[in-house]
């Protein structure tokens, strides 16, 4: 199965090299997190006026990726688009790992990480952030339940067919579930699983919207910052989450999907979804920019000036505009590239990378503009600076933790039955 799932064209040495590189980076990430926990927040380049930086941007990036992936999975399990069936488990798995990533990043961003559980014991109902943490909890449970019901038959059969260490793991993951042996009973079991998955999926849709729309609302409710304080903000979060989810699926399926007769159609479908959401995202962003600039409120206009012509213009022009929008939109719509699965995969990757820049620009520029005129020249200390560029340890931990999440996803992807094995056995002849 694995040989089929991996790209056929890749030479044999790629896989060990990939694992070595990602593993090494993950190790760097773990070291960076230890350094951050021992030395505290002073290892960051954050300042009092710019208290949220790269970690928060990556946090909302991962939450968006997670919500987007999850909503892509509901296409299959709730809305019955069964031609994308084979993306379903992959989407749920990436939703799970992306959520872990998001929680990891917001956890290391806390001034007192050891107190994170206060969110549940001292929960404040007026805080959007507090609500979000509950949403994340529900959301993890929903994804785990869905994945288990989808895979339980495959896990149980793998627990029987595999040997040694793998057998124990599969046995544990199946939670003692035993799959029926006959085709008829399996049909019933499968129908039951799908019903449960559909129900959880339906419940999951508002949760996923709450998870990312709510993450946007964390910013949108801050009346002190005109750039954040717009009703479109949570909507933009959601749409770009859907775009990043669809793009991730296009990328993953193009390069690591199952090469069968459905393969090109699935990649095309995912890329088209990415195109749709990227276009809506562009429209909304355009509206924000134009209305914001036309309003001429100094603090609002200054944020756009910072984004377009500030100290880091390439975040917008190169990251957000070129990699996040123009390149993927062109690759998916141009006649010559849209027929090639490879280029559609590249388009997906480009959007997934470009949306990191979108997230950076959603968080940091709003904080660069002083809330009071002259506040930036009132107190001269490095930690009272209105300029922010991530420190070495921020870079190390960001790259390293992303590698850790990618590593976890890769291992899970290789290890777990991503495409129904038992299903193929029983329904293979019917197709």
């Amino acid at each position: 199965m694995q040989a089929e799932a991996m790209p056929i064209t890749l030479p044999k040495w790629v896989k060990p090299v990939y694992y070595a590189v990602v593993g090494l980076l993950a190790l760097v990430g773990i070291v960076a997190v230890i350094v951050r926990l021992v030395y505290g927040m002073k290892v960051t380049a954050l300042t009092s006026p710019i208290p949220w930086g790269m970690w928060v941007a990556i946090y909302i990036y991962f939450i968006g990726l997670s919500a987007g992936s999850f909503l892509m999975s509901t296409l299959v399990y709730v809305f019955g688009m069964h031609r994308y069936e084979k993306v379903g488990r992959m989407a749920l798995l990436s939703a799970l790992f992306a959520l872990f990533g998001g929680m990891l990043f917001i956890w290391i961003d806390l001034g007192h990480p050891e107190r994170f559980w206060f969110i549940f014991t001292r929960w404040n109902p007026t805080s959007v952030l507090a609500w979000e943490c509950f949403f994340y909890l529900f959301y993890i449970v929903a994804i785990l339940c869905e994945l288990w019901f989808l895979m339980r038959c495959d896990l149980a059969s793998l627990a029987e067919s595999e040997t040694g260490f793998k057998r124990i793991i599969y046995h544990w993951l199946a939670l003692g579930f035993r799959c029926p042996k006959t085709s008829f009973e399996w049909q019933r079991c499968h129908a039951q699983s799908m019903k449960v998955v559909r129900t959880i999926g339906i419940i999951g849709i508002p949760i996923a919207i709450g998870v990312h729309g709510g993450t946007g609302a964390i910013f949108a409710v801050v009346a002190a910052r005109p750039y954040w304080y717009t009703p479109l903000f949570p909507v933009i979060f959601l749409v770009s989450a859907l775009a990043s989810g669809a793009a991730l699926m296009a990328f993953l399926y193009a390069f690591f999907g199952k090469r069968d007769e459905d393969y090109p159609e699935i990649v095309k479908g995912m890329a088209n979804f990415a195109l749709l959401f990227l276009t809506i995202d562009m429209l909304l962003m355009g509206a924000e920019f134009l209305v914001g600039l036309y309003g001429r409120i100094p603090e609002h206009v200054e944020v756009y000036r910072q984004i377009l012509f500030g100290p880091f213009p390439y975040t917008f022009w190169l990251g957000q505009l070129f990699f996040g929008t123009i390149l993927p939109v062109t690759l998916v719509s141009w006649q010559r590239t849209r027929q090639s699965v490879f280029w559609l995969g590249v388009a997906g990757l480009s959007a997934v990378v470009g949306i990191v820049a979108v997230r950076l620009n959603l968080v940091i520029p709003a904080l660069v503009v002083p809330v009071l005129k002259g506040l930036d020249k009132a107190f001269f200390q490095p930690r009272w600076s209105f300029h922010y560029f991530p420190s070495f340890w921020e870079w190390a931990s960001t790259v390293g933790l992303i590698a850790l999440i990618v590593l976890g996803f890769s291992v899970a992807y290789e290890f777990l039955p991503m495409f129904g094995i038992v299903e193929e056995k029983f329904s293979g002849g019917e197709r």
């Binding site: 960051t44 006026p49 208290p51 806390l110 107190r115 404040n124 805080s127 009071l372």
Partner: protein, 299 residues
């Protein structure tokens, strides 16, 4: 609502302690003499209003005189306010921009009083140049925490670690704050800072002992070591709560060389601040946001 609940809890705790003290003092007094009973009962009621201070010794003031220093007058106002229950006080600050010379003594005094690290400043002074040579002047705007009546920073806290006290001061519970910094982004005045745990003399052979000295905010002793609170917390100006509840004016008021900063109880019509803020030349910052600041500027 939740904040109110916390406050009542706090009051209940204080109430319990006060009751125990009253019982103890009553038992003791009934053994000694009825005359002492009255005194101890009085002491107990004072404790109740002081919340955490067991024996508040208010400074002795000279008898009132005409044209006395406003600092003395404000201390008299302060002592009068402290005799009232905490929820009947309404602490306000008044800053006369015509008198401020921009010496920033208040900024420095505050840093010394609260042992603030380089990332934290409670009261910076904002400067603005007005006009062109030869008609040029500078405007100085000290900016403490506005102690808003509708603070935007408290509802966003995910763990109820910050709230408005009955006397209107917005406080932070360092032991509860998880350091997410949401409140810092929510303040329209930039009045909250984050304690990153740096020192001014970091990188020199020795960190100056004065920087490691404990601060006494919120009637507690906060040692600076490791990653312990207040390191890793949001921090803000609290009108020197630990000073005012012992009858001292906030450090920035005491230190102001031009007597440009005033402090007192706005619920007391006889106080100096009441006299100053009920005039047409008063303004507050960003009133359009509905935050209802309790820092008034005279222009």
């Amino acid at each position: 609502m939740a904040i109110e609940k916390m406050q009542t809890e706090e009051k209940q705790q204080v109430g319990r302690r006060a009751i125990l003290e009253k019982i103890a003092s009553a038992v003791f007094a009934s053994l000694v003499a009825p005359a002492v009973l009255r005194e101890t009962a009085e002491a107990a009621t004072v404790t109740e209003t002081q919340q955490t201070s067991p024996t508040p010794q208010l400074p002795e003031l000279p008898p009132p005189q005409p044209n006395e220093d406003p600092l003395i007058r404000m201390m008299r106002d302060l002592q009068r306010a402290l005799k009232k229950p905490v929820e009947q006080r309404r602490w306000v600050m008044v800053i006369d921009l015509r008198k401020c010379v921009g010496c920033k003594a208040c900024t420095v005094a505050c840093i010394v009083e609260n042992k603030l690290p380089p990332s934290v400043v409670y009261r910076p002074v904002l400067e603005e140049e007005i006009g062109k040579y030869p008609r040029v002047t500078r405007k100085f705007l000290p900016r403490p925490c506005m102690q808003c009546d509708n603070p935007p920073c408290t509802p966003v806290c995910p763990v109820k670690a910050t709230w408005k006290r009955p006397d209107g001061i917005v406080v932070i519970d360092y032991e509860a704050c998880i350091g997410c910094r949401y409140c810092i982004t929510a303040c329209p005045y930039g009045a909250r800072s984050f304690d990153f745990g740096d020192y001014y003399t970091e990188g020199t052979p020795e960190i100056a002992p004065v920087e490691k000295a404990p601060s006494f905010e919120y009637h507690r002793t906060w040692e600076r070591k490791g990653n312990e609170s207040p390191i890793g917390n949001a921090r803000k100006c609290h009108f020197c709560l630990h000073r005012i509840e012992r009858g001292l004016l906030p450090q920035c008021v005491t230190t102001c060389i031009g007597r440009a900063t005033y402090f007192g109880d706005a619920n007391d019509p006889d106080s100096l601040v009441s006299e100053l803020i009920n005039k047409p030349n008063v303004m507050r910052l960003k009133e359009e946001l509905g935050t209802e600041p309790k820092v008034y500027y005279l222009v």
